[in-house]
C-alpha cells in the first residue's frame, strides 16, 4: 500500500513537473549591448514573472546586421526564433519575405489581443505599416537624428550656448568660429553619414529619397537623391572638408567618440547617443533639432525613425503566437513605455506614454529627450517623410557612403557622386524587385 502511495506520489510530482515545464518558450533574438541589453533582459524577466504560460528567452546575436543574418540563416535552416529585432533599414527586406514573417496586425487579430495602431505615434506607424495602414512589425527601440553640441566650446568661441544654430548656413558659420577658437581638426561632424546627410536630410526638407513614397507604395521605385538640394548639401560638405571645418567621421557611429572626447564640438547623430554623452562627456552639453536650409520650401518638415523593431517569424504554432501577442501587449503598456523612455532615452512609441511623460514635467529638466520627439511630430508626415522602404538597403547605404567618400576626398564632384549613387542604387533596387516579384 505504502509502495502504491509512493508511486502515485512520484507520478503526481512528475505530472506537476511537466505542468511547470509546459510553459511555451518564446525565443527573442536581439542586438542590444550594455545598458540596453539590461533593459531587454529586465523586460523578459518582468513578463515571465507576470504570468505562468509563456517564457520569453532573450538572446544577444551581435550587431544589427549580424542579428538579421543570424535570423535569416536560422530561417533557412528551419529553426528561426519567434521574435527577431531588425534595424530600420532591414524593413524592406523583411516585409518582402512573405511567408517568412507573420505581420503583427494579423498576429494580434488571430490571438484576440487588443491592438490599435492609432495609439502609436504616426511617424512610427508610418514606418512599419503597409499602405493600407497594417502594422507589419512591432516598434521597439526608436530614435531620431539630433544635433549634439558642446556648450563650453560655444562659450569659448563667443557663440550663444543657449541658441544653437537652426539652419545649415548658421551651423557652418558656428563651425568656422569653433575652428578658429581652437577646434582645428573638426568644427562639426556627422555620424552615420548617409542616414544623417541623405535619409534624414530628405525627410527634414520634404524632398523624396525615391519615387513611390520612398518605396512604401511599391518596390518599383527609383532613387531621387541627386536633386539640386542633395547635391548642394554634399558640395557644401566637400568645401568644408578641405580645411576640416567639417570632418568626415565614418559610415557608422564609431566617430561619435570624437564628440565626447571634446575634439568635435558639434556632432549630428542619433538621439540614442544620449546614454553615452551623459556617461562620458566632461563638459556642458545639450542637443537641438537637425539644421535645415532656410530657402528649401516647407523645411523643416519632420524627421524619420532610426532604431529597430520586432519582427515575428512565420511558421510557428498558434500557442506560440498567442504568447508573442501577449508579450507585445505587455510591452505596449503605458507605464512600461513611459519608464522605458525615461530610463533608456529611447522614444516612447505610444501617444499615451508620451503624454504621460510630458504631463509629469520630465522634459522641463530633461529637454534633450524631447528633441527627437518634437522633430518626429513637427508636422504631419508627407509621402516624402513617412519613412523609407527600399530593398537591399543595408548594401545600398554602403554604396551611397562610398560615393560620398569619393566626393569628400576629391575623386568625384558632388554631382557625379550623387548621380552615380542613384545609378548604382537603382541597379540594386531592380535586382531586389526581381527576387520579390514572384
Amino acid at each position: 500500500m505504502s509502495l502504491r502511495v509512493g508511486l502515485a506520489g512520484v507520478a503526481l510530482s512528475a505530472l506537476m513537473a511537466t505542468g511547470a515545464l509546459a510553459q511555451t518558450e518564446i525565443q527573442w533574438w536581439h542586438a542590444m549591448t550594455g545598458a540596453n541589453n539590461d533593459v531587454v533582459v529586465k523586460l523578459a524577466e518582468d513578463f515571465n514573472a507576470s504570468q505562468k504560460d509563456y517564457k520569453v528567452v532573450p538572446t544577444y546575436k551581435g550587431s544589427y546586421p549580424d542579428t538579421m543574418n543570424a535570423g535569416i540563416a536560422a530561417f533557412r535552416a528551419g529553426n528561426a526564433p519567434h521574435i527577431m529585432q531588425v534595424f530600420e533599414v532591414g524593413t524592406g527586406t523583411m516585409m518582402a519575405a512573405k511567408g517568412a514573417i507573420k505581420p503583427v496586425y494579423q498576429l494580434m487579430a488571430d490571438a484576440g489581443e487588443q491592438f490599435d495602431p492609432k495609439s502609436y505615434l504616426p511617424a512610427v506607424t508610418g514606418y512599419y505599416s503597409t499602405v493600407k495602414g497594417e502594422m507589419l512589425s512591432f516598434p521597439f527601440n526608436s530614435s531620431s537624428t539630433v544635433m549634439w553640441y558642446n556648450k563650453d566650446a560655444f562659450k569659448k568661441a563667443g557663440l550663444d550656448a543657449d541658441k544653437p544654430p537652426k539652419t545649415w548656413p548658421e551651423t557652418f558659420d558656428a563651425a568656422k568660429k569653433l575652428k578658429a577658437a581652437g577646434y582645428a581638426t573638426c568644427g562639426f561632424a556627422t555620424a552615420w553619414v548617409t542616414w544623417v546627410n541623405i535619409e534624414q536630410f530628405s525627410t527634414w526638407h520634404n524632398i523624396p529619397i525615391g519615387t513611390k513614397a520612398n518605396g512604401i507604395d511599391g518596390f518599383d521605385t527609383e532613387l531621387k537623391i541627386n536633386s539640386p538640394l542633395h547635391v548642394k548639401h554634399l558640395q557644401n560638405l566637400v568645401e568644408l572638408q578641405k580645411d576640416k571645418t567639417y570632418d568626415y567621421a565614418g559610415r557608422t557611429n564609431t566617430g561619435e567618440g570624437r564628440f565626447t572626447s571634446g575634439e568635435c564640438p558639434i556632432m549630428i547623430t542619433s538621439s540614442g547617443f544620449y546614454g553615452n554623452v551623459k556617461a562620458n562627456a566632461k563638459f556642458d552639453w545639450a542637443n537641438a533639432p537637425m539644421p535645415y536650409y532656410p530657402d528649401a520650401p516647407g523645411a523643416p518638415q519632420n524627421s524619420t525613425l532610426g532604431g529597430a523593431s520586432l519582427w515575428v517569424m512565420g511558421g510557428k504554432s498558434a500557442a506560440e503566437y498567442k504568447g508573442v501577442a501577449k508579450f507585445f501587449t505587455f510591452l505596449s503598456d503605458v507605464d512600461r513605455q513611459a519608464k522605458l523612455h525615461t530610463d533608456s532615452g529611447y522614444l516612447p512609441i505610444t501617444k499615451a506614454a508620451y503624454e504621460k511623460v510630458k504631463a509629469s514635467g520630465f522634459y522641463k529638466t530633461n529637454p534633450y529627450l524631447e528633441t527627437p520627439l518634437l522633430e518626429l511630430t513637427n508636422k504631419e508626415p508627407t509621402d516624402n517623410s513617412k519613412g523609407l522602404r527600399f530593398g537591399n538597403m543595408v548594401q545600398m547605404r554602403d554604396i551611397w557612403a562610398e560615393e560620398m567618400e569619393a566626393a569628400l576626398n576629391g575623386q568625384k564632384t558632388a554631382q557625379q557622386a550623387m548621380d552615380s549613387a542613384v545609378q548604382r542604387g537603382n541597379a540594386m533596387l531592380r535586382q531586389f524587385e526581381r527576387t520579390v516579384s514572384r
Partner: protein, 293 residues
Amino acid sequence: MEKRAIFGGQTLPYLLLAPQLIVTVLFFYWPASQAVWQSFLIQDAFGTSTEFVWFENYQSLFANREYYNAMGTTALFSILVAGFSLSIALLLAVMADRQMRGAMSYRTLLIWPYAVAPAVAGVLWLFMFQPSLGMVSRGLRGMGVDWNPLLKGGHAMTLVVMAAVWKQISYNFLFFLAGLAAIPRSVIEAAAIDGARPWRRFWTIIFPLLSPTTFFLLVVNITYVFFETFGIIDAVTGGGPAKATETMVYKVFSDGRLGGDLGGSAAQSVVLLLIVIALTAIQFRYIERKVTY
C-alpha cells in the same frame, strides 16, 4: 633483391584511403558544388523565391566596373602583403638563426602574434591609427602628416596591409627558421673557409637551400591573402573609403552576408576559386622548377 609488401584484394587500399576521401568530399567538394549551384540562382535572402538564371549572375558580375576595381585592389594587396610578410619574416629568421644570447625568448616573442585572430589584429591596428584618438596617428600628425584613412584610400590601404603583414610574419618566420635549421652547417662553414662573405653565402647557398620552404610559403601566403584577410578589412576599413580596400574576398563577404545577394556572391566565390586554382597551377608549373629539393 628488393622486397615489396604486396596487399591482396581491391578493398583494403580503398578502405585506407576512405577517411581522407570522405573528409575531402564532405568539407570541400560538397560546399564547392553548392556554391556553383547557388551561382546559377537568383534568390531572396530568406530563400522563399528562387529562379534558375544560368549565367546571368556571371554576366552582371563582369559587366560591373566595381568588380574589376576589386580585382585590381586584390592584386595590389596580395603583392604587398605576400612580399612584405615573406621578406620581413626571412630577415627576422636569418637574424634569429644566429648564435646569440636570449635567442629562445626572441623567437617566442616573434611567434606570438600568430595566436591573434585576424579581426582582433585589425582592431589593434585600427586603435593605433584611428585618425583622432590613435597613438601613432597623433605622432604622425605631430610630424605634420595629415593622416586620414577614413577618406584617403592610400592611407587605408597602408593600414590593412600593415595589419595583414604583421599577422602573417610569425607564421612565415616559424617555417623559415625551421628551414634554416635544416641547412647543414658544414656547407656554410666550407663556403666561409673558401672566403665567401655572409651576403654571398646567403644568396648562393642559404637562399637556394631554403627555396622549398619559400615556395611553400608563397602558396600559403597567397591563399591567406585571398581568403583569410576579410576579417582585417572588415574591422579596419569596411572596404572603404570609396572601395579603396575592397578585395575580391571582401566583396564576396559583403555582397553575400551583408547584402543578402547570395547568387552574385556565389558567382564571385566561383570566380575566386578559379583564380586561385589558376594561380596555384602557375606556381607549381613555373616557379616550382626553380626550387631545389
